[in-house]
Amino acid sequence: MWKQLRSSGMLLFLLFTGLTVFAQNANLTGKVTDAKGTPIPGASIAVKNTSKGTATDAKGEFNLPGVPANAILVVSAMGYTAKEVTPTSKHLVIALEENVKGLDEVLVIGYGTQKKGDVTAAISSVNTKNLEKQPSGNIGTMLQGQAPGVVVSSGTGNPSGQPVVLIRGMNSINNASPLYVVDGIPLEYAYDINPNDVESINVLKDASAATIYGARAAGGVIIITTKKGKSGEPHVNFSAYYSSLHLNNNLPLMDKVSMNKVVRDAFANDNLTAPVYVQDDSQYANSDWVGAFTKTGTEQKYDVDVSGASEKLTYRLSYGHWENSGTIINSGAKRDNVRLNSEIKLLDSRLKIMPIVAYTRFNNQDYSDVNGDGNAGFSPFMEVYRTLPHKRIYDENSPNGYAKPEIELGSGNPIGERMLWNGRSIDDYLQINVAADLKLWYGFSYNFTIGKNIVNTYSYSQTSPFDFGALSLVENPTRSESRGRKENSLYTHLLNYEKQLGKHNIKAMYGFSREKNVYQGTSGAGNHLSSPLIEALSGLILEGKNDYIRVNGWNYGNNLQSYFGRASYNYDDKYFLQGSLRRDGSSRFGTANRYGTFYSVSGGWNVHKENFFNVPWITELKPRFSYGTVGNQNIDNFQYLAKIYLANSDPYLNYPFGNLPAQQVYVGAIAASLANNDIKWEQTATFNGGVNFSLLKGTLSGSFDYFKSKTSDMLAETPIPTSSGITAMPLTNIADMENQGWEFTLTYRSPANKAFRWDVTANLSHSRNKIIRLGYEGGVIADGFVDYNNRGTTLTKTGEALASFYLYKTDGLFQSQAEIDAYKNKAGELIQPNAKPGDIRFVDTNGDGQLDDNDKQLMGNGLPKLDYGLTFNASYKNFDLMIFLNGKEGQKMYNGAKMFLYRYYRSTDLMNAWTPTNTNTNIYRLSNTDANENMRVSDYYLEDASFLRLRNLQLGYTLPQKLATTMHLERLRIYAGAYNLLTFTKYTGFDPDLSNTGIFSRGVDRGYYPLSRSYVFGLNLGF
């Protein structure tokens, strides 16, 4: 591969030497200013349809030699609307209007840019000005509610946790995550980026836009472009905020005395003796474990950048530091970012070279929450919530300061266990990216991009010895370390063509790229360090058969080779047509199905430009459509090979032989999965119809899109008969699904010439999916288990939405034995023979006289019917205000955390449980045996998780310009605000918006780390 790179470098060289000097003509000088006459440094002046151009200096002045007669100058600057000027004299003064994100705004699309007015696809452009005001270190979290059709769930409140981002809902049972493209480099993940470095974010939603990323675009594409240098003189920006984080701990727990009573009642109701520790209220401690486990956290972020531009060089160097102490003990995360973006102009600006170097250090003291589908268990948070208040937390006499529980209370001290553990990950991300853009002749230009993304990960975990009972015992200090590296190398050739022939505008692009990913790593671990003072694996010893030192490692990779092209045509800026094609070859598939081809077509019509259209209050009206295909290749490598499993992989194949209790363990190896030779791409075909509009001279603008997609041959783990001897589910192209929905966005801007200015943007989107094929007749996928591998809460089946809740229906509580006796079938048998008054009545929905699985009903799912965001910005004199609300409507959540806290007698709800004298309650009677199975999966625990959240509230004050100038500042703004201040919801769990990454268990609340409310103070400074 690199041979070819070298040869292409040769090509570049040859192309340079082939350049000739242009004919000389007029010599122009001038100045570019804003509407008020303030000079704009770094503005670009280009001669239309040529490669000629220059940029203004610090005083906003320029000098452009050799301008041909009748030339048209295109003058543009970041933040201003570009303008075309026909030179009328040799010295020009050109005033630019401030950009209100009009139709001339340039959007970064895949492998190129496009004027917003020319776009025929469904692309959402995120207003980064609104992002700047969000106090968050995570670009994904910040996207919440900012673009219609981009649905972000908070994941968890863990500072290093990642949000779940879905574009247009769920369109695959496989991986539905979007592809991130950062400065032209496709990545699976972009959360290491400093939000302060982000210039623009565009979201490619339909096939027309995303096809150009072919096999990885099924989940949509998020294109992130980082900031470049802007003005002539070096310009420094500094910003900082500090916030205090308050964990939203809204699940009250009983103290010891209340719990004792509840437990005693629960056992007494079963005629059983309650555990000894609840018998005497005067015994034992009354500890607040949650209080000791959580803390008020702080979040801080500091950013400084220096940027500038001269005629030949543009640069921006930035440094950012973010840290979040977390809201639980012994946790926290820190990130440092350095980025240098530059642009070097050579050969009369004909050649632009754009090197980018970015480095990120991420330092995380982790708290790992449960994740994914299947038997995922409950969050470790819940383990703290359930810990008996009877246990003491601290003990001065214990060697480590933490108390060993009284033996009858059982093992474990979650505070001690966490504090005596020390683990961190320290990860380095390095992105080196050089793009070269060469203007050729006849409208051709050539672009070459080479990029390397290197991620080096390191983590360690060390535990000091402790004894919190036999089941929470670490005899010797243990240590593990892991080092890994991921190297992503990529190069892209692009050949662009752009031509205007009268009213015909033609643009075309052809490209080729290769991408190589290599993952390598090693890990080591042992359970006996010779001393707790040693913090290196070298201190591990083997002192008998209970000790171990283990090593592991990995070494794999995958390659992608792609050909792609795009052609767009418009006539007179009225009629637009665009087509794209991409052919991807992936090493993840066998030779027969290695390549996938994806295409799209789209069109648009600027109705408002027609002569016959004469509606003065409509400024823009542009209907458009698109149809096309995208793919999904997001699967493990070598699924097409029949792999032999060895030793320590899952499943564990080892087995001991010999005649001692500590027998020698022998290594086993065998086939434990089946190959799928026929595995191929998953493909999504999408139709999109939309309209862009702008009314009343642009004060009101927006767009509406309707989409319908069909994903075919979805790759998913397919259950196979276990009688084959294989329990691992092979990936097959098992299923098809449909997804449809709409998106609407509307912005109103008050007139700019008033002292009080405001704007408001609303985003709304809706999507719903339906499985139309699932492998085999009557096939279903059950998941969302809330009791180890039992009590599945969701079902995925043909004709229904992905992961629909599938539960028993309840009908209140039995108030008397007579009600229980009256609830019988035709044969006279009781439908709930084990029920007692106060137990839940479950509905025999099919009326067959028995309560069984067939009575479960589908009851909605964890995806919102409506996702919305509302951003309000206002300014009056030097004050500015931002209010950002976001919400979700119509999503359901299975409150597993509630079930958990009921089971372990911790929820205060239980103090109001049904008794013969307390019948006006919906809390079922206390019973330790639960003979009626009140905890079975039912709508008792299913709740409406719709919510409206005041996500961000911020009030800012900008120092008057005069005052700032006397302080030698260009700008100073201070602000205060609150993040996640208020949430309006009926949901009774921690938070209605926490979600895990499991596709089949979305909406199942396992008691995830809750979000924090934060109060923020910050400043922005420029000089």
Partner: protein, 509 residues
Amino acid sequence: MMKLKITGLFFTAVMLFSGCSDKFLDLQDKQNLTESTFWATRQHALQGITATYGALQGYDGDKWTFFEQVYVTLAFKGDDIDNNKNEPYGKNLAAFVNSADESGPWSLWATCYTGIGRANQVIQKVPGITVMTEQERKEIVGEAKFLRAYNYFVLVNGFEHVPLVLEFVKDLDKLQVPQAPVADVWAQIEKDLTEAEAVLPESYASEYKGRATKGAAKALLAKTYLYQEKWAQAEAKFRELHGKYALNANYVDNFNGTKENGPESIFEIQWSGDRTVSDERHPFNFEGRPYALDGWEVFYPSDWVVAELKKDKTDAGEYSDRVYGNIFFDDPKSTMWDLNVPASQIPYSSVASDLSRPAYYNKYAYPNDRSGSYVGYNISLIRYADVLLMLAEAANENGKTDEAIGFVNEVRTRSHAKALAVGSMTKDQLREQIRHHERPVELAMEFGIRWFDLVRWGRGNTAKQAIKTVLQNHGKPFSSNYVEDKHIRYPIPLKEINTNPLLKQNNLY
């Protein structure tokens, strides 16, 4: 000229773009062997059979699958176990309200078929490995047949109607197999065991102890006859083992690791405290023990089995060794090991006030040599005491009641229980004594014993006993929920039916 040059360069560029070869996409799997590179050496054959044994520990080899799923499913329906109602483990199974999506039966099903699938691979592939002796090849194939037979034995008794898969099929489109006639499954078990018996060695070198022996094949074959009420064949086959093994002098040595693969052992699931290679320990030592001794109290001895145990007395009228070896109860001599380091034996009286139940199982509740949490002690599948009791049962059915009493007494006297007087019992009395005293008292809570005993007596033709009646007589909680022709079998797991529409659900599920 210049234009020509540039045009030429463009074409070069375009050629360059499209002239890339697909070799770039050919990657090697550097982490794994594949089917085509495996099964080539003697080591591969040993690794293959090791993995086949490995499936005895659960389909994924995970200790939790083994206990929470496999053991619980096999044990919790029995009348010798009372589960902790506040724990989810096997709760629905034990209350006879489980539906077909219960995870336990699926795990048991998957565990058996995982063993069968691996055995099938060994049976198909090992004969083709030429770089080892023919005898060793045959022995390894014999072991695989033994393990395949054992897994089918569990399946046919647990589920009854099961697919008979005798080949490892790799084609994803050919994995759906219908259920076989029950007689075919029994016949295959007998065939595999007969073939295994012929080639398996009498014993192994000490480093390989625990692999299936000729004796193990005989014992399982005899048990297979017994379960089919082929009394004569069963008795004959069991007699081939009589005197070939010996009872451990101490009853508890069967459970505390001191006599692993020892004189009484016929076949055991191997576990190990040696963690240098991987962790092969299990949690049996704390699952049943009281909270007050660091246990999880997941299950208890049923009141009935406690009462039955307490009937087991010595000549002097004291409790026999197997009472103390099974339960921790209110008796001056009753103790349980704690999990401290070093461990000590805790008398019942010293923790009585912290206990909420009158008795706990202390079988398998032994400390490890260091850390208390998990242990590496083997878990018996067939031991000689069981063989003697089955021999007694077969002999009694064959009319040799007095001789059968002798076999029973061999087991009783090892624990110093008073010998039954020869001639003191009729055939029916001895049958009842074996069924509802000797076997539960000797083998209480042991892996895969009691529930299957109830199943065979419930479905057989010789002195058939409805399980519901037995459970009700023995005070099993929720036995009123028991439906005779339903709960005698596990449901065919819903997950399995979902993937294999050729399967027919068991009656009434």
